[in-house]
């Protein structure tokens, strides 16, 4: 796989993150390619979620969290003070481990973001955004006749796709996914994976997953984190067939004591 020919969407350089006195990330250098799926794997507490939360500055909301170093989105530094985090999060959406629809209708869940960002000018435009977003998230056919029902009335897998649709409603460029399938059954997981495959044609996706099989299935590039450091990054095929680093091999083959 040719990794070098891809355009770099996100570039992390010498990124260090601290929670109070505890350092969570150590000198992370990682390039994330545009319109590709990058999987981040590693044991719990290794820093992979902390890392993706840096990409849309979600760590800003944690008082004791300090981020040093550089993250560039399309060559522009996102950690500078002048950067408006609301605009940043419009470009960089996020989907979490547990589906977290707002306690509102399916329609309002999707309309919320575009309303805040002032994207739609009238009801017709908003209707269109809701429909398009739900279609992109492969949920439209299942909910089109019940848009006024609460988002929480959907099944777990549907709720997760609703959250993906919500992220898509503000036309992001990057979607961060933090273990998006860990609460889902295999069928709902397959639907999300199918969706990821489809979404990567238009979006850059970074996914944190504990499932090796999922990383292999959905991603083109994989990074292995351990104790706050990046141990190895390479094409997914290389990482899972023949990794260079012994720690990577021990982790993915289940040899970690």
């Amino acid at each position: 796989m040719e990794l070098n020919n891809s355009k770099i969407k996100i570039k992390a350089k010498n990124l260090n993150v601290y929670y109070g006195a505890k350092q969570a990330l150590f000198d992370i250098n990682l390039d994330i390619n545009q319109k590709e799926v990058t999987a981040l794997i590693g044991p719990s507490g290794c820093g992979k979620s902390t890392f993706i939360r840096c990409i849309n500055r979600m760590n800003d909301v944690i008082d004791i969290c300090k981020v040093e170093g550089s993250i560039q989105l399309d060559g522009s530094e996102i950690n500078e003070k002048k950067v408006d985090v609301v605009t940043l999060r419009e470009k960089v959406g996020m989907v979490f481990q547990k589906p977290n629809p707002f306690p509102k209708s399916i329609y309002d869940n999707i309309a919320y973001g575009p309303t805040i960002h002032g994207v739609a000018e009238n009801k017709d435009q908003m209707d269109e955004i809701v429909e398009t977003s739900l279609k992109k998230a492969a949920l439209w056919d299942e909910v089109k006749d019940r848009l006024n029902e609460p988002g929480t009335s959907l099944s777990g897998g549907q709720q997760q796709r609703l959250c993906i649709a919500r992220a898509l409603s503000v036309s992001p460029e990057v979607i961060l996914m933090d273990e998006p399938c860990s609460a889902l059954d295999p069928i709902a997981t397959a639907k999300i994976e199918e969706l990821i495959d489809d979404l990567k044609k238009s979006y850059t996706i970074v996914i944190v997953t504990h499932s090796m099989a999922q990383a292999v299935r959905v991603s083109q590039k994989t990074g292995f984190f351990h104790l706050g450091k990046i141990i190895e990054v390479d094409s997914t095929e290389k990482i899972f067939k023949n990794p260079d680093n012994k720690m990577t091999q021990d982790y993915i083959t289940g040899r970690f004591g």
Partner: protein, 232 residues
């Protein structure tokens, strides 16, 4: 290879058992080949039935290994080195089974041979048999020691197997030209020679699988070849 074992003990045991069965299969195939060659050279017709029968044990092990591999794939979804071990073991076990079959075919040709087989007919065949047996022993040792260099050496040495095959076939053809009455015997010996050469090819396949297991890459370039047998 990784020095530490799997966190899940039963996974470790499954991989160990797979390895043990392959080693056992290799050892039986080695004996089978040695017995078949000895039967030809000594024209020992009495040993033929035993050799034919013991091929069943090799086939049985292949089938056990196939089942174990299916189980490992479905239960463990092996990754990296475990994946390469699993894939290579499957391929190696199939090559060993074919070598066992070829040894059996060699043995079966002993029955119609005359007991007073002239030495001039078997000199090169004996050398070919010795070389192929040595190659088999070496590749099994290389597997045990996971030796990449040995795998390459064995792979390259197949050229000598091809050359000796040509020599042995020429000897038989010359003998046949002397007296057409030798036709039946010569035909059997040509089959024996060809079968041994084919066993040599499976040994190089094993060397290739072993190289992949160790390196995660395929041996590159065409295998060195002796003069083509068919051109003789």
């Amino acid at each position: 290879m990784s020095g530490t074992g799997h966190t899940v003990k039963s996974y470790e045991e499954e991989m160990q058992s797979l390895n043990d069965n392959l080693v056992m299969m290799g050892s039986l195939t080695e004996s089978q080949m040695a017995d078949a060659m000895s039967a030809v050279i000594k024209v020992d017709k009495e040993s033929v039935d035993k050799i034919v029968k013991s091929d069943g044990k090799i086939n049985e092990l292949r089938s056990i290994i196939d089942n174990q591999i299916t189980t490992v794939l479905v239960k463990r979804a092996p990754m990296a080195v475990d994946l390469r071990i699993t894939i290579s073991t499957m391929k190696i076990s199939h090559d060993l089974e074919r070598i066992g079959d070829l040894a059996k075919s060699v043995a079966k040709k002993v029955k119609p041979l005359p007991v007073d087989l002239p030495d001039e007919l078997t000199a090169s065949l004996r050398r070919l048999g010795d070389l192929v047996q040595k190659q088999l022993k070496d590749v099994l040792d290389a597997y045990l020691n996971k030796s990449k260099d040995k795998a390459i050496e064995i792979w390259r040495k197949d050229e000598q197997v091809d050359d000796l095959t040509n020599l042995a076939m020429n000897e038989v053809a010359t003998y046949l030209q002397k007296d057409k009455k030798n036709l039946e015997m010569a035909t059997h010996l040509l089959f024996v020679t060809k079968n041994i050469e084919r066993a040599g090819d499976h040994i190089t396949n094993i060397a290739e699988s072993l190289y992949y297991l160790i390196e995660g890459e395929y041996l590159e370039g065409a295998r060195p070849k002796g003069k083509p047998v068919e051109s003789e």
